[in-house]
Structure formats: structure tokens, C-alpha cells
């Protein structure tokens, strides 16, 4: 199916039919189709990963349904509304993050949730995944590109305040994603390569310092494990060893759906959440993994294409940041599951079970579709 989309990508605008129903609903059909295929495939993998537990599947489907509703609703909102509200939402998000530190609900040693008793609970950090890039994009929409040094300082401020608040919860994965969302705007906003290289070398120097002075002991252990998983094969190294074993034993064609021994016999921990890719790799083999990577590439490519076609700075920057953040998800998750990166709590986007991230991700695609489908109206003025 993905091949079909690839073929249709360049002519996406005509395919969807500018006067067609989908277009009038402010949806982008190639992106929507790719997302639906991804989510349905993800449910199949989850069914196996969750030991054929239908409850799990139903809960995930409900969450996906909610995500698609959010996508649809946000696609109807014109981008200028987002630009108008970006600072306010960002500020509100900051307030909520501070609130989390004080009155957040604690679970598994981390304070991430705000609970409105009897109504709902949610993670303000998820809101910031959208609010931070929107805020940075808003910042640049008031200025001219390329990003300069003073912009860097301000963008850093906008980004790092929520990032540090999230890191305090602690939630390394989300803070990493929020930081990426903000800083990626800087990149597409044309920050000079020299500054980028300088920042990267500073990061390289800061990394060991971070390791010793900033990271929590559990985070530090993850880094240690990354460098030497065999040091504690039954403890900290267990996850990564079992995950690589699952992937490697899958081979080219895989062990077949529902036949992965690593996951079905519980050798693979977190098999339905962060390590779900290993289940796909074990049961679907290299073929399954490459199909998934292709599908992700299509989605990210479409996202970049949408930002290419966008005409306003805010829209361009926001859309490209969202698409690239989505890529960060993919790269960090697959990188950690396959042993290329240390274990960071980043889910495989739209496939891993649970988390509000599904709703946030699909909401982000809703904003992208809004940017894409409201473009015609702007040019008609």
C-alpha cells in the first residue's frame, strides 16, 4: 500500500480533489490514509504483544479514535487561530507544568499527571509538545529569518523552561521530545551551521557533566547499560539484550504473527509499550520492519511536503517541526530498542500501547492538515 502512496505523493493535491469531500473536511488524504494504515497495523502488532488481550486492544482503539477526533477537530481550525493563541496556550502550559510539580498525581516515582477529580486527568507535558513549537514558530513569525544568535537565546529560553520542568517530574523521554520540537524550529528557521556546530560541541562537552550532575541514578544506569548491557544481563541489561535477541531471531521473514517466542513467553519486557518494535521485528522479520520504516518515511515525507507548500513562516515552521519531531520519536525509539541509543522512555509513535502521546501526535497531524488545507483560502485572498 505504501508504494501506492509514494506514487501519488507528488500529485497529492489533485488526487485528493480540491473540491472533493475530504478536502472540504480539511483533511489530507495521503497523510490520513498512511496514518490509518499505520494505526491498524499497529493494532495487529499490539494484539500479539499483549498476549491476545482484547481489552488492551479495545482501550488502544478508543485512544486512537479519540486521537482521530482530535485530528479532525484541529484540522478545521485555521492556522492563524493557532498563531493567535500560541503564546497564551504556551503560558497556560507553563502554569500547568508548575502545578504538576506541586499537586501532580504521582505514579511509579514520577509526578506527571494533573487530575481533575472525577472528570479527567492529563499530562500538561503532552500539551507542550504542541505548544512549544507553536510558540517558537510564533516568535519567528514576528521576525525575519534566518534565526540569529539573539533568537537562539530567546528560543532556548522558551524551550528549556518547560523542558526543565518536565525533566523534574522526571520524564526524560518527553522532555527530550519537547526540546527537539523547539530546537528543530531553530534549525528549519535557518540557524547558521556554525552556531549549530558550536551548540553540538557544547552539548558534547556538557553530556558527561550532565551524566554526573543532572541525571537521576536510574537514568544514569540506563546510560551505563547502553554502553555495557552484558555487565548485568539479568538486571539492567535484560531489556536491551532480550530486545536485540527478539529482533535478531526474527530474521528476514519473521517467526509469524502470534509466534514470537521472545514476546509471547515474556522474555521481552515492555513488549506492548516501549519495546513493541521488537515484537514486530520478531514476528514480521526484516520485511515487516522495513515496511514500517517505509510507512514512517511516507508520513514524515508528507509532513515535510506540507510544510514546503505552506506559505507563512508560522505555518512552515510549525508543520516542519511537528513532522521532524515525529521523526525523532521514530528514530529514538527504534534506536533504543535495537541498541543504538540508550533506553529513553520514548514510545514507538502510534503503535506503542497507552500514553496520551497518541492523542497529541494525531492532534499534531490535525494541525498539519489544517495548515495544508487552509492554504487555498489564503492564496484566494
Amino acid at each position: 500500500m505504501s508504494n501506492e502512496f509514494l506514487r501519488q505523493m507528488p500529485s497529492g493535491r489533485t488526487f485528493s480533489g480540491k473540491d472533493g469531500l475530504i478536502w472540504r473536511l480539511h483533511l489530507d488524504s495521503p497523510l490520513l490514509a498512511a496514518l490509518i494504515v499505520l494505526c491498524l497495523g499497529g493494532l495487529l502488532v499490539l494484539y500479539s504483544a499483549g498476549d491476545s488481550n482484547t481489552d488492551l486492544l479495545i482501550r488502544q482503539s478508543v485512544r486512537l479514535g479519540g486521537g482521530f477526533v482530535a485530528l479532525f477537530v484541529l484540522a478545521q481550525v485555521p492556522p492563524r487561530t493557532y498563531r493567535f493563541w500560541a503564546p497564551a496556550v504556551y503560558a497556560a502550559g507553563l502554569v500547568l507544568l508548575v502545578l504538576v510539580l506541586f499537586i501532580g498525581t504521582e505514579a511509579k516515582g514520577a509526578k506527571r499527571w494533573l487530575t481533575i477529580p472525577g472528570v479527567a486527568s492529563f499530562q500538561p507535558a503532552e500539551l507542550m509538545k504542541l505548544a512549544v513549537p507553536a510558540m517558537v514558530a510564533w516568535y519567528f513569525s514576528e521576525r525575519s529569518l534566518p534565526a540569529r544568535f539573539r533568537d537562539v537565546l530567546l528560543v532556548m529560553l522558551i524551550t528549556l523552561v518547560p523542558v526543565l520542568l518536565i525533566a523534574r517530574q522526571p520524564d526524560l523521554g518527553t522532555s527530550l521530545l519537547v526540546a527537539s520540537a523547539g530546537l528543530l524550529v531553530l534549525f528549519v528557521a535557518g540557524l547558521s551551521w556554525r552556531l549549530i556546530l558550536a551548540a553540538m560541541s557544547m552539548l558534547a562537552i556538557a553530556a558527561p557533566l550532565m551524566y554526573f550532575f543532572v541525571l537521576h541514578p536510574y537514568q544514569r544506569r540506563r546510560v551505563d547499560t547502553f554502553f555495557n548491557p552484558e555487565a548485568d544481563p539479568l538486571g539492567a541489561g535484560w531489556n536491551i539484550i532480550q530486545s536485540k535477541t527478539a529482533i535478531g531471531s526474527g530474521g528476514v521473514s519473521g517467526k509469524g504473527w502470534l509466534n514470537g517466542t521472545q514476546s509471547r513467553l515474556d522474555f521481552l519486557p515492555e513488549s506492548s509499550t516501549d519495546f513493541i518494535l521488537a515484537v514486530l521485528a520478531e514476528e514480521g522479520g526484516l520485511i515487516g520492519v522495513l515496511l514500517l520504516l517505509a510507512l514512517y518515511t511516507v508520513i514524515i515525507g508528507r509532513g515535510l511536503f506540507i510544510s514546503w507548500q505552506a506559505q507563512e513562516t508560522f505555518n512552515r515552521l510549525l508543520a516542519s517541526s511537528l513532522a521532524l519531531t515525529f521523526f525523532i520519536y521514530v528514530f529514538v525509539n527504534i534506536g533504543m530498542v535495537s541498541g543504538l541509543l540508550p533506553v529513553v522512555g520514548v514510545p514507538l509513535p502510534l503503535i506503542s500501547y497507552g500514553g496520551t502521546s497518541i492523542v497529541t501526535l494525531l492532534a499534531g497531524f490535525g494541525i498539519m492538515m489544517s495548515i495544508h488545507t487552509h492554504r487555498k483560502l489564503l492564496s484566494n485572498h
Partner: protein, 638 residues
């Protein structure tokens, strides 16, 4: 609305953005390729390696221990069997807090410091994850119930049922059966890789006695089971199974009736009793008192029990029958006498005057007879019956130690008997060469004179005494004693005085008079016997008397009294049992060891009605022609 300036900026911004977008696409694509490359590396190139790892995860080859062979006596009485036992074990990986759980368990079952210590040691030693680590064996039903009730609060706590060795007769057979206990790394390190594989499922290992000697036989062949397990070690399915080959049952020559009789006759005294069927070399009774309860050792003896045994002055863990070293004393005289006749230094007619002592010509030193006033005129026969020392001093001096040595080793003295039990002592049969090699001293005439009445350097175990008596009963035909009813190996010893029946029979007659004669030293044991017994008493000195000191049993502390000895066989002219009895500090051989030997012989030779009924040998094939042709038992009793 927009100014041209802004429009120009807009255009430039678009270009900047477009360039960065292209860069983004390039970076995204190349990183995607990195991920794809990583997956190709893991899934295509390293596939085999990870397949092995994955199979190792889920497929476990479990060794299945073979059931240990049982041990029976000759009547088919079970002497060692396997009984189900419930033991407490922890799967450490499932226990959230080991210390808290152990504390909790200690409230429900009796846990000693040593149990906890052993648990931690086992936990730290190399083991598979999810493998249960034993904490305590032999749970009582009450303890099992207490744990079962609280099971839901105790994750990782297991009660396993495993067969363990059980010895129904407690200490009665302790020194001959030995025991098994937990196999340890040292045991495994001594094995060949093949043997190690054979023991991969086995928890117990034979330590002493029959359990040790026949370990290979009793153990059997390990079985294997390939199972698929999940990460928590739960077996989901058995993929392949090779059942174990059970260990072989071992049937012993031992007769529980004879063993019990020996045990009871010895009573609370320290000592040893060995009875051998001289026809096939089978060991009918093997007693060393005090014994110990082998059941205490099986699952690991507690410190309290062990120190109780260790610190007991009666040394219950010491196998007197097999490892005790005692001078044979006068029990040696019949063999010494035959040595003199064989060498021609004496004969049945030769008489000497016994004034109560013997003095070497030209020497001051006096060798006393046990009877101060002497035996008067004595010949060989009388010297055996009354146990005259002077006759043997004289004969021994003229025989010389080396000829004595060469004759006596043919009775198995001074060397291991080759019995199927581990840890046997050699004893000492001295010679000039021996004294020079071991002591670095020349041999003196006095040494020979001491040796000729079984004192001095000479040391034997009760087992050796019994074997030499059985060899005597076989008229010199050597034998290798057996506890188990398995064909004994042929002895490499040359028989002594082969075919010289008249000498054997005359010496036997002298030994019969020891028991049945008017002046015999073992008259007490002959009372009312239904068959003729040939025997010789002896005492082994613990304490040397000074030149003119009187031996007064009353005055000497019990532990310094002489050891009482007797050897004998019956029926005298068709022997079916040879016995050696040692009673530590028992004083006189005839009065304290004799009745024990008699009780043992009765237990073997008399039926339930008290009539003489000689049981057939267990291994008729092993009986030498010499004995098979003997007259019947009835005609033997005059």
C-alpha cells in the same frame, strides 16, 4: 498590505526555509537508512547468533535425576529406601525482599542460623535464574500447612516434594551402609566430564560405606527433558524426553537377624563385631558401636547434632570395625602356631616347660606369661587351649619375624582386605624391612617375642581378624570379603599350607577345646551350644604394666582396661560363619567377647525353633571346592 521590503524578506525566508527543508529530508532519509541498516545487521547478518540466544532462553534441557537404587539385606529387608520429602525453597527472582521473606518464614517454620547461612551460600553460587534455592528440608505437616495458608503473601516461596534417602534402622547399619548427603562442587570437580553430566540432575551423593562404594551402581543414568519455559521458568511444554535409568538395587550379604544379634549382644559397650560366611566371603554382620543416625546427615546435619557426635568421648562416628587398629593379641596364636609347624620349628609333639616367664639366653629381660605361676609342661594344643604365652615366645623366637610375617600376610593381615567399603585401614604386620623403613631402627629379638603373641608393633582391624579367621576356616584358601552379593574379585594371595589338612584339623581341634574343653579360655561361650565352635580369645593391651606390676582390673580406670577379643568359626568342621568380636576395655576375651560371638553364631546357625539349620551360602558359585566337599553340619556336632 505587505511592503516590498517585507515581500523581499518573505522571498528570502522562503528560500532559507526551503534549503533547510531539503536538508531535513536528507537527514531524515539517511537516519532512516541507518535504522534500516541496523535492522539488516541484527536480523539478516547476526540472525543465527540471536536465534541461538532466543532458543537458549526458551528451551531448557533439564536433567532428570534417576531414582537411587534401594539396599536390601539377604532376607529382602529394606535397609535404605527413598521417601518423599517436602522442602522449602525460594525463587529469588520472585521474592521482593529476601531478608523480609526469610524473617517471615522463620516465624512459620523452624529455621536455624545454619539453614539461613547455607541458603545465602547457595544463592551466591552460580545458578540459573529462576531456579529454586533450597532453604530447609523435612518440613513437618504442620509447617507445610502454615506456609500453604500464607502462600499468597509469599511470592517466590515454594514447597517442593523430592524423594530423599531414608534409613529405617537408624544407627543399626550406620557404619556399613554409610549415608548420602548433598552433592557439592568438590564431588563434581573430582569427576570426569561424562560423570559430571550423569550427575547434572542429582542432589545426593554417597558418603561412606555401601552408599559410597556402590555409588555408581546405585545412582543410575541421568535422564533429560527438553522443555519450553517462559521467562518466569514455568514449563509450558515438554519438547523431548529421555527418561532416566534408575539406579540398581543392591542386595547385601548382611542378615538383619545376625546384625541385630551382634548389636544387642554388644549392648552399650564400645566395640565391633564382624561375621563372615567363610563359604562365599559374604559379610553377615558388620557392627561398630556406638553408631550414629545416618538420617540426620542426609539433608545436612545441624551444627548441634554434629558437635554432639564429634564431642562424644565414645566417638560414634569412628568406624571401629573398619578403621580401628588393635593388637590382635592371643587371637593370633592358631595362625602363629601353624606358621611354626609350617617352618618346622615346632610340631604337635614338642613340649616345653613354662615357669611363668620366658628369658632369652644371656639377657636380663623377662617376658611374662599372662599366668604368673606358669602352665607347666605345655605342647601346642595346650598352649592354644590355655593360651600359654611362653610356648609362643619360644616358638616365635626360633621362627623369626620374617618367616612369621610371610606366613601371616597370607591370612590378609597387614594389608587391606579388599572389602567393598571405602576407608579401610591396612593394619601393621611388622617385619625387619618394615621396621627399618618406617621406624629407621633395627629389629630386636624382643620385638619378635612380642609379635609372637600378637602384641608389639602388630595392629589389625576387627575386619582383618574376621577375614583371617574365615581364611583359617577355609583351611588357608584366601578370600575377599563382600558386603554386597556380587561376585567377589579373586584374591591374589597364595594359600598357606594348602592341602595339609591334618594340621588344619588339629589346630581346629585345639580351638574347639578353647570353647568346649575343661580348661578352655572361652568355656563361657560354649555352654549349651547345639554345634561345635572353634575359637581363640585374646586381649589387646591398652596400658603397659611395669615389670612386677599386677594387672588389677578393679584398680585400672575403665578406659585403660585391656580390649577383649575373640575370633572363631562354627560349626567347627563345616564352617558357615566366622566371627571376630572386639569389646573395647572389655577386659578378658573369653568372658566379655565370647558370649557376643556365640549370640552371633546362634543367630545365623539356629532356626526359629532353636534347631541347627545352616543357611545356604548366598553365592554357591563362590564356595571353594574344599568346603563344598565337607561333611554335613549334623555329623559335625558330636
Amino acid at each position: 498590505m505587505r511592503s516590498p521590503m517585507q515581500f523581499k524578506d518573505h522571498h528570502r525566508e522562503g528560500r532559507i526555509f526551503a534549503v533547510r527543508l531539503v536538508w531535513s529530508g536528507v537527514i531524515v532519509l539517511s537516519l532512516m537508512l541507518v535504522l534500516a541498516g541496523r535492522m539488516i545487521w541484527l536480523q539478516a547478518i547476526q540472525h543465527d547468533r540471536y536465534t541461538t540466544l532466543s532458543d537458549k532462553n526458551r528451551v531448557q534441557t533439564q536433567a532428570v535425576a534417576p531414582p537411587r537404587g534401594l539396599i536390601y539385606d539377604r532376607r529382602g529387608e529394606l535397609l535404605a529406601d527413598n521417601q518423599p520429602d517436602f522442602s522449602l525453597a525460594l525463587i529469588a527472582e520472585q521474592v521482593p525482599d529476601l531478608n523480609a521473606t526469610l524473617t517471615r518464614l522463620a516465624e512459620m517454620v523452624a529455621l536455624e542460623e545454619a539453614d539461613i547461612e547455607r541458603f545465602w551460600r547457595r544463592l551466591r553460587s552460580p545458578r540459573r535464574p529462576w531456579e529454586p534455592v533450597p532453604v530447609r528440608a523435612r518440613l513437618t505437616e504442620e509447617e507445610i500447612a502454615r506456609i500453604a495458608v500464607a502462600q499468597h503473601e509469599l511470592p517466590g516461596v515454594r514447597i517442593d516434594a523430592d524423594p530423599i534417602r531414608h534409613y529405617p534402622y537408624d544407627d543399626l547399619f550406620s557404619h556399613v551402609l554409610g549415608y548420602v548427603n548433598r552433592i557439592n562442587t568438590e564431588d563434581l570437580e573430582r569427576m570426569t566430564p561424562d560423570e559430571q553430566a550423569n550427575y547434572s540432575g542429582t542432589h545426593y551423593y554417597g558418603r561412606l560405606g555401601v552408599e559410597r562404594h556402590y555409588e555408581r551402581l546405585l545412582h543410575g543414568r541421568v535422564g533429560f527433558r527438553k522443555v519450553e519455559t517462559n521467562a518466569r521458568g514455568r514449563i509450558l511444554q515438554v519438547l523431548e524426553e529421555i527418561p532416566p535409568l534408575p539406579g540398581e538395587d543392591v542386595h547385601l550379604h548382611l542378615d538383619i537377624k545376625v546384625q541385630q544379634a551382634a548389636w544387642d549382644a554388644l549392648g552399650e559397650r564400645r566395640g565391633a563385631v564382624i561375621a563372615i560366611d567363610p563359604r562365599d566371603g559374604g559379610v553377615l554382620a558388620f557392627v561398630s558401636r556406638p553408631g550414629f543416625d545416618p538420617n540426620l546427615f542426609v539433608t545436612g546435619i545441624t551444627h548441634h547434632d554434629y558437635s554432639g557426635y564429634r564431642d562424644d568421648g565414645d566417638r560414634p562416628l569412628f568406624n571401629r570395625a573398619l578403621q580401628g587398629q588393635y593388637p590382635p593379641g592371643s587371637t593370633l596364636k592358631p595362625i602363629a602356631g601353624l606358621a611354626g609347624i609350617d617352618a618346622g620349628v615346632t610340631d604337635w609333639q614338642r613340649t616345653i616347660w613354662d615357669p611363668g616367664y620366658y628369658r632369652l639366653e644371656g639377657q636380663e629381660r623377662v617376658f611374662r606369661d599372662w599366668r604368673r605361676q606358669g602352665h607347666g609342661w605345655v605342647d601346642m594344643h595346650k598352649s592354644i587351649v590355655e593360651s600359654c604365652d611362653t610356648y609362643f615366645y619360644d616358638m616365635g623366637f626360633r621362627l623369626g619375624i620374617d618367616r612369621m610375617h610371610d606366613f601371616m600376610i597370607r591370612f590378609g593381615l597387614g594389608d587391606r582386605t579388599g572389602i567393598d567399603l571405602p576407608g579401610e585401614s591396612r593394619g601393621i604386620m611388622p617385619s625387619r624391612a618394615w621396621k627399618r623403613a618406617v621406624r629407621g631402627e633395627p629389629w630386636y629379638h624382643g620385638d619378635t617375642i612380642n609379635a609372637s603373641i600378637g602384641q608389639g608393633y602388630m595392629l589389625t582391624s576387627p575386619l582383618q581378624l574376621a577375614v583371617s579367621t574365615a581364611v583359617f576356616a577355609r583351611q588357608g584358601e584366601p578370600l575377599v570379603p563382600r558386603v554386597a552379593q556380587l561376585t567377589p574379585p579373586a584374591s591374589s594371595i597364595e594359600p598357606a599350607m594348602a592341602g595339609e589338612t591334618q594340621h588344619w584339623e588339629r589346630m581346629t581341634r585345639a580351638m574347639v577345646d578353647v570353647v568346649h574343653g575343661a580348661r578352655g579360655t572361652a568355656r563361657a561361650m560354649g555352654q549349651g551350644s547345639k554345634y561345635r565352635i572353634a575359637a581363640k580369645t585374646g586381649t589387646a593391651q591398652v596400658f603397659s604394666l611395669g615389670k612386677d606390676q599386677e594387672y588389677n582390673a578393679e584398680e585400672i580406670a575403665e578406659r585403660l582396661r585391656d580390649h577383649a577379643l575373640i575370633v572363631g568359626f562354627a560349626p567347627a568342621d563345616n564352617p558357615a560363619i566366622a566371627v571376630a568380636v572386639l569389646v573395647e576395655n572389655g577386659g578378658s576375651g573369653g568372658s566379655s567377647a565370647g558370649p557376643v560371638a556365640r549370640a552371633v553364631m546362634d543367630a545365623w546357625l539356629l532356626n526359629n525353633a532353636g534347631e541347627l539349620e545352616v543357611p545356604p551360602p548366598a553365592l554357591p558359585g563362590a564356595v571353594p571346592a574344599l568346603m563344598a566337599g565337607n561333611a554335613s553340619a549334623e555329623s559335625a556336632s558330636r
